[in-house]
Amino acid sequence: MQLARDVDITKKKVRWGEWMIESSLAICATISVVTTAVIIFILAKESMGFFQVVAPTDFFFGTSWVPLFEPSSYGVLPLLWGTLLITFGAALFAIPTGLASAIYLSEYASPKTRSIVKPVLEVLAGIPTVVYGYFALTFVTPLLRMLMPELQVFNALSGAIVVGIMILPTISTLSDNALRAVPDSLRQGAYALGATSYEVTTRVVVPAGLSGVMASFLLAISRAIGETMAVTLAAGATPNLSFTFLESIQTMTAYIVQVSMGDTPAGGIAYQTLFAVAALLFVITLILNIVSQWILSKFREEYE
């Protein structure tokens, strides 16, 4: 008979059933790592194939993008410029309005108003992007053309405005969270010194929450760069390297959609341009996301 004192209770009995469950959960968790690896591998592999045909300098510094017709030319600058134009216009609209809404929500609005307005702004973020494309084409563009008759049907301005509306909730929600994390004692201190609400907000609260606010700007900009459907529908499909909001342009994302709508044979140079453009898009948004995470962790003010 085995006595109780002979059983080593410090020795762990392996539960094979649980070991298998834990392992399968770990495998599920690994899928995200695999996904990243696959994204990088595919983009790199196909881009390599592209760069064997087209010199990288022609791609990065060429000023003409004519990939589908002869004589072809693969300078990505017009597409990059289109994306920058849309992003710049959208940021010009969304950064001031988003920050002002965040300030209103965190500093001025009563809890009741806040509980109504914040979800409403979040609904704006939940509306599918193709709906914004529709809105741009059937509402924003006709309205703008009444004011500016010289505006083309497809134009960067309309695209920039709807992308601005789309990224507005990203800025207002994240900045609101950042401003609300600023402790009340800082506000009370400033008010006690006789500052007005404007001075408290602009000189104390916003500077104290600046890391979160800046991170929200970067995330919103990264979203604007990756935005696809609204700009495809509103801004047209004309690679354009001039500084104008009134004409049709083409963004990197819109180009990818344009090519994939046609029947592109696998392996051809047109197919490979998709991956080269997508790789550039991926790298740009990845850098923005990493920088925004870095700002959040590096410059976070801890108030305890």
Partner: protein, 292 residues
């Protein structure tokens, strides 16, 4: 002396006026955001409501506007929802559970975390390209529902994982400690106590992620969801269309009638999204009561 006082009070008045103006500006801008949502919804409703009838829901797309409908698109979207849910929910929740409850907080967990937060920021069209290269071409799944559902699942996995982790984090430590004190293993605790307690939060996150997937257009265009489909998919390997694709197709035509059809399609899409979110809120309230 008097003039100094007057100067000071003028200064204070000016500063307070500035503060008041600033407050009005911020409030105005915020309400403008809400106003934009109202304009958008009104515009869609006014344009699309007259096309919205039984015939619209039960007809296939057509080049004649008065005959066209969203039948195949609506059915395609419903197929997608179910298939995406079947793939992404188990994997997403399992990952969240593993990271929060089971993994040793080491380099491996850290690596996965960094990956997830970066994947959440990758533009949806990049997922579309990867779906095209891997599922459609690489694995030879063709332009099928399965390719679409797998691509979309990759896209929303980070969202589901992040939301589920947040929900799991809100479960109080005392519940875990009670289970451990009674001799439960980590898995038993996670499965029987942590998961049920965080269920409402996970569910909300999952439904929000699924509604994002339903509205996504770009990845489906990339993997080549057809825009003209006059049949209903009968299995995961069939080709398909979906509501956002059909809407995109109608919006990109020049005729006014098709724009109005697009508005009708948008109303159907928004109703699907609204129903899902209402269901999430309803289930959350039910389960929250039961848990207390």
């Amino acid at each position: 002396m008097n003039s100094d006082l007057k100067l000071a009070s003028d200064n204070i008045k000016a500063r307070h006026r500035k503060a008041k103006l600033f407050r009005m500006f911020c409030a105005g801008v915020t309400w403008m955001g809400a106003g934009l949502l109202a304009i958008l919804l009104i515009q869609v409703t006014v344009d699309g409501i007259k096309w919205l009838d039984y015939q619209f829901l039960t007809s296939f797309p057509s080049r004649f506007p008065y005959k066209a409908g969203v039948k195949s698109a609506l059915v395609g979207t419903l197929w997608l929802i179910v298939m995406i849910a079947m793939v992404s929910i188990p994997i997403g929740v399992a990952t969240a559970l593993y990271l929060e409850e089971l993994s040793r907080k080491g380099k491996f967990a850290k690596l996965i975390e960094i990956n997830i937060s970066n994947l959440a920021g990758v533009p949806s069209i990049v997922y579309g390209i990867i779906g095209l290269a891997i599922f459609v071409r690489g694995l030879g799944l063709e332009r099928s529902l399965l390719s679409g559902a797998l691509t979309m699942s990759l896209l929303i996995l980070p969202v589901i994982i992040i939301a589920s982790r947040e929900a799991i984090k809100t479960v109080p430590m005392s519940i875990r400690q009670a289970a451990f004190a009674l001799g439960a293993t980590r898995w038993q605790t996670a499965w029987a106590h942590v998961l049920p307690a965080s269920f409402p939060g996970i569910l909300t996150g999952v439904i929000l992620a699924l509604s994002r997937a339903i509205g996504e257009t770009a990845p489906l265009i990339m993997i080549g969801a057809l825009t003209y489909v006059a049949f209903l998919p009968e299995g995961p390997m069939d080709s398909f269309t979906a509501l956002p694709i059909q809407i995109f197709n109608w919006v990109s035509r020049p005729q006014q009638e098709f724009h109005e059809l697009a508005a009708g399609g948008i109303i159907v899409l928004l109703i699907v999204l609204l129903t899902m979110n209402a269901a999430a809120i309803f289930i959350r309230q039910k389960t929250e009561k039961k848990l207390q």
